[in-house]
């Protein structure tokens, strides 16, 4: 589905990614682990061409080269990013936020049906639909951010740290929701600091360190890898 090969990226003189290659198979949840500054967000930014860095290499979406395409062209090919820190439109209502999610793909035809689909996925947002996004709790805001991405009818979603700053109970809920979304045949590339939860729901995973992929494999195998356990799972 998504094939990144030998991708390098730099911000001016600073190199952020060094020959990164990874693949995400259709229908899978693939998780990308790594510490702060490893280049995870840059990688997602490069795939969506939404960061100001210089790129080389190749990014293929269903066999088609998308590296360097404008962001809206990438969205209309079915790839959407849910950015770190939710990035909602603070003063717009929940529903207006969701509608903005359809901006890149919709010319006013299907958004009502898509809205209903998102509300079915996140019933809690229905009662909040007329509220400004900034007044929602962290977990609800994350739901809006994911729901907004779903409005573009993506075939693959990139999620950047969806559990950041959420209470443990909500973290579990968000991960279960990601699994539900995947169940609706949406492929997921998940960047997470919470490696334990990420590996719990993922099929496969990659480890990114200082701009390089240093490990990859099936999620349950990586969860047993001593290096991964020490560096990302915190205990034996």
């Amino acid at each position: 589905m998504l094939e990144v090969s030998n991708l390098s990226a730099r911000y001016g003189a600073i190199s952020a990614l060094n020959g990164v290659s990874l693949g995400v198979d259709s229908g899978r949840i693939v998780s990308l682990l790594g510490s702060n500054g490893a280049g995870k967000s840059t990688l997602l930014g490069c795939i969506t061409n939404s960061v100001p860095c210089r790129m080389s290499g190749s990014i293929r979406l269903e066999g088609e080269e998308i590296l360097g395409l404008p962001t809206d062209a990438i969205i209309s090919r079915g790839l959407v990013l849910v950015p770190e820190g939710r990035q909602l439109f603070a003063e717009l209502t929940v529903e207006e936020n969701l509608r903005m999610g359809a901006y890149g793909v919709d010319r006013g035809r299907h958004w009502r049906a898509d809205l209903d689909r998102v509300y079915r996925l996140f019933p809690r947002l229905v009662e909040r639909r007329r509220q400004a996004a900034a007044t929602l709790s962290g977990g609800e805001q994350q739901m809006v951010a994911i729901g907004r991405a779903m409005m573009a009818r993506p075939r693959i979603v990139l999620l950047d740290e969806p559990s950041l700053g959420l209470a443990p109970l909500l973290v579990r809920e968000i991960f279960n929701l990601i699994r539900d979304i995947n169940g609706q045949s949406v492929t997921v590339l998940l960047v997470e600091q919470n490696a334990r939860q990420a590996l719990r729901i993922a099929h496969a995973a990659y480890v990114l360190e200082k701009g390089h992929v240093t490990a990859s494999g099936a999620a349950d195998e990586l969860a047993r890898d001593p290096h991964v356990i020490e560096a990302y799972l915190g205990e034996a």
């Binding site: 939404s50 100001p52 969205i75 990013l81 903005m100 901006y103 006013g108 900034a134």
Partner: protein, 289 residues
């Protein structure tokens, strides 16, 4: 007496409000304060005047052409001077607008001369009687035109695809980009709209003050004062702030001294920035993280 003063103050305030709307529009869309806004309005008004006198077009035709002409002026300026600075820090673009101020200012003097010229009246000078007070048709006309601009802007931001995208981009540019909003387009549209509204304000003020390459300086100052009073990030706030400034200006000139007519605007800017920098009319939404 007081009714007339308030009415003509509201008219004056409406002209400031139009220019303030231009300032706030560009600021919201691009984080840049366009110091050249007043000079661009003056330049556009001079082009209208040239169309009127040298090309001999009738006044209604010129008035219809004013808005598209303003759009063209804004779009060309944005492309030529702002686009190359797109990835530079906003302060670079801000300084560039001060350069634009000089360029438009002196280019206008150079092309059209340094002497004030009379601009034909847009409205009849005859006053009309409203609730026992005689109010100049001019004031009513100015208020009506400004109201029309405000209503059109409101419709644009609430109901058009581009307008909604611009609101979203002004709140969170990166997120808007991730939704597929082309942020270079929104910047261009903001400049075009702002410049068109500026030219309308120039056309409204020119018959009152004479057409002159210096004419927009005090208007820009008052527009700044009004926009800051309203919070500089709120379009309705800027309008209300400017109406307050317009009325105050008239009352101060009548009851205190005409010497303070312009300086009080500086006073308001300083007072607001000192005691209520977010402006009087911006509402704050309690934020939870």
């Amino acid at each position: 007496m007081i009714t007339q003063l308030v009415a003509s103050g509201l008219a004056l305030g409406s002209i400031y409000a139009l220019l303030a709307l231009s300032l706030v529009l560009i600021h919201k869309a691009t984080d840049v304060v366009n110091f050249a806004q007043g000079e661009m309005a003056m330049f556009g008004t001079f082009i209208c005047f040239a169309l009127l006198t040298r090309a001999g077009l009738p006044l209604p035709a010129v008035l219809l052409l004013a808005a598209p002409l303003g759009v063209a002026l804004g779009v060309v300026t944005e492309r030529a001077t702002m686009r190359p600075l797109q990835s530079a820090p906003p302060v670079n673009a801000l300084i560039a607008t001060i350069g634009l101020w000089m360029i438009f200012h002196h280019a206008a003097g150079w092309i059209w001369g340094y002497d004030p010229v009379r601009f034909p009246s847009l409205f009849s000078p005859e006053p009309v009687e409203i609730m026992g007070a005689r109010i100049a048709q001019n004031s009513l006309g100015i208020i009506a035109v400004s109201l029309l601009v405000v209503v059109l802007l409101y419709l644009f931001f609430e109901f058009t695809r581009m307008g909604v995208a611009m609101r979203a981009a002004s709140m969170n540019r990166r997120a808007a980009q991730l939704m597929g909003v082309d942020v270079t387009r929104t910047s261009l549209v903001a400049w075009g709209l702002a410049s068109a509204i500026g030219v309308v304000s120039g056309l409204l003020i020119a018959p009152l003050t004479f057409l002159d390459f210096e004419m927009m300086f005090s208007v820009l100052l008052k527009a700044f004062a009004g926009a800051i009073l309203g919070g500089f990030n709120s379009l309705p706030g800027a309008v209300i702030g400017c109406l307050v400034i317009g009325v105050l200006e008239n009352l101060i000139a009548a009851y205190v001294s005409t010497a303070f007519k312009d300086t009080f605007a500086f006073g308001i800017i300083i007072l607001v920035l000192m005691f209520r920098p977010q402006g009087l009319f911006t509402r704050r939404i309690a934020k939870k993280v």
